[in-house]
Symmetry: C2
């Protein structure tokens, strides 16, 4: 048989690809010295290898068979207790009924998509927003409604107008998806004032807020402080926030250990859904992460990681200024992994990407993050993974890629 | 807020729980010396701890940053190549376009549910069948149609009749789900003759077969041979079989590394779907499994595991005969982890479970495996996890649990 189309479900026919994953395939299939500003990978030099090795060594002694056994869907209980402690450090009070582990935050997004989004729903997202959320939500066959951002985060007037407009048109609309800390891709930090107003707004409009917080720990202390990253969830007195976070950026992404903190009835549903999705997260991974928290490894990671990525940001900003003068502009990232750049007038990200690939440098096209058809004049560049030399060389290549079109004008 | 029901999707409102997972929670929450014949867990004494520790130690040296990095959704490529080798050993020829890793076979079932099952579809399953498949498929909002089994596997006349009847009634019906080797829960080995006939039947009726094969390596060589476990997929010339298998029983379940082998266009869809579900399987887990294959650990596991579980089966059969005489009957398991027992006339599994729990022994009620409302006179007992002493003591307790009702008769 050649075609299996007739066997597919409606979802199987209309699956949305993650643009980032697709670009990962480009990177993987290219040989030679491609420099990638595309992937939002942490730098493995920042992983606590010695500690992980020591922990794994102890766990795999064979003394405790449960280290490699099946375990509860909700998560390894001592890890859940440690996560409650991590949340407490962020100002969020939870108990065991309100947290569960997920196989990466992507699974948290998928759980939200399956349990809370009905086909035909409208879901509010920022423009731009994270592609993994776009793919997961679209696979629930909803319609994504984009809301613009200001320099201090989502525009609340526009947000409210969109919500009212959608409801007026008869749409079921219950969810707002946000990345408040060092947003992927825009790098924006949502102001504390807007966080408070968003909680009020959610109550007023009877909305739930999905708060995705992978980067909160990675603030750059020359321009941001821990206090400014305080999650909305910390002040969520009405149970309106579903909070996602992960160990992928602070420990290592290879473990696939992330978590959700949400009202107990929602976590209960997520747990049931996960049972038929993958039974549980990898238990060795959970145990390594748990020990990393208990032994203080996670806590010791934070300051050096902030230093590492702040330096990378400095290198990228400097290199881009040097290579591209004022032609490329961006909002200075206060944390996280990304620089969201605006191309000069007349430039489009798609043809530029083709030329950049010829020069051996990769970025993500801005349109991939924008559900309203915009973003063609933007690119996302990650400074987290390439070395300082790589960042400088990649910026030089990007400048070369921008030459021909400049010449044409 | 107290209730979040109004925010739920139709799926969120109608999630199907895995009965086995629920029983796992019972076990976990009970203190004391409960003996569980419920969980289909492998025995950790059979895990190759020393080899895992050595492999993890080397992988976590820090020399290769990709060990804990993000990786491709399809799977770590050297592992995929090793899996192709494992499949070759089972008579199945595949290439890299036809295999992918999944987070346990449960994720394979979920991928099938999402990509191939439309709401309202009918799906054919054996009676009894695996509860994890029941939950995953039902969450795709399909209708499960049960087909009875003979001692040598599914009854093909009844199968065909069910298919024709469903189509005649206008149902969309494309899938048959089977566990041909040492079926969970019935322990039945599907005959080679029926395997050949099923492939012909699938072609004739334009059906796809989902072949779930976690236990093929665990045959008991006093009553079965490797040749008898030859997968349907090995003779699938028309691309009609989606084959699932796992390292959970042969290496360890805690790694969550399983795989699908299927026609390339289907694997392509699964890959896209998995991108928005969890990005990828744990990469350290994949690397450990890969090294376990490369170093011959997996191969060396097989014979001792067959011995281990054959002995456990012997202990359980002997203990049950001793404790319960001819009152409990069962088809002798030729492999796998389970004994599917028929209760004496007048017994029902649900009240028996309550009494068994009082006595400190746990099993799974037969009705959980039967989509046609039958199975109330059956129980599934796993001999894989409890120690020989545990099996004997558990059988004694089961006999005690069966006394009061006997007395009432």
């Amino acid at each position: 048989m050649n075609s299996y189309d007739k066997y597919l479900s409606p979802l199987g026919r209309n699956l949305h690809e993650s643009v980032l994953r697709k670009m990962g395939q480009v990177t993987a299939s290219r040989t030679g010295d491609l420099i990638s500003f595309a992937a939002g990978y942490p730098d493995p030099v920042g992983f606590p290898w010695d500690e992980f090795r020591e922990i794994a060594n102890e766990l795999l002694s064979g003394k405790d068979g449960s280290v490699l056994q099946y375990g509860p869907t909700r998560g390894y209980r001592p890890l859940l207790e440690s996560i409650i402690g991590v949340l407490d450090g962020r100002g969020i009070k939870t108990d065991l009924t309100e947290v569960m582990t997920t196989s990466g935050s992507q699974q948290g997004l998928d759980l939200i998509a399956r349990v809370l989004i009905a086909p035909g729903d409208a879901v509010l997202v920022e423009v731009p927003t994270y592609t993994g959320a776009i793919a997961a939500f679209r696979n629930a066959q909803c319609r994504l409604v984009g809301v613009p951002q200001d320099a201090d985060g989502i525009n609340i007037d526009e947000l409210d107008a969109a919500c009212v407009r959608e409801r007026g048109a008869g749409a079921r609309i219950n969810l707002l998806y946000l990345v408040p800390n060092f947003q992927n891709p825009a790098g924006i930090l949502l102001s504390l004032d807007k966080r408070a107003r968003l909680l009020e707004w959610a109550e007023q409009r009877d909305m739930l807020i999905v708060e995705d917080d992978p980067y909160g720990e990675i603030y750059f202390d020359d321009v941001a402080s821990a206090g400014e990253t305080r999650p909305l969830k910390a002040d969520d007195r009405r149970g309106r926030v579903i909070y996602l976070s992960t160990f992928s950026k602070t420990l290592a992404p290879g473990f696939r250990v992330a978590w959700v903190a949400a009202p107990a009835p929602i976590v209960e549903r997520f747990d049931t859904a996960k049972q038929s999705m993958d039974l549980m997260c990898g238990i060795l991974d959970q145990r390594v992460v748990h020990q990393s928290i208990v032994r203080g490894v996670l806590e010791r990671q934070a300051a050096p990681l902030r230093q590492l990525y702040r330096m990378r940001r400095d290198v990228m900003e400097e290199a881009l200024r040097e290579q591209l003068g004022g032609r490329l502009t961006w909002i200075a990232p206060k944390g996280g992994f990304f620089l969201w750049a605006k191309l000069p007038d007349g430039y489009q990200c798609e043809p530029l990407l083709a030329r950049a690939l010829e020069q051996g440098v990769l970025f993500v096209i801005g349109s991939a993050f924008c559900v309203d058809g915009s973003g063609h004049d933007r690119i996302r560049m990650s400074f987290s993974w390439p070395s300082p030399e790589g960042i400088r060389e990649g910026s030089r290549r990007l400048a070369l890629a921008m030459q021909p079109e400049l010449a044409q004008r």
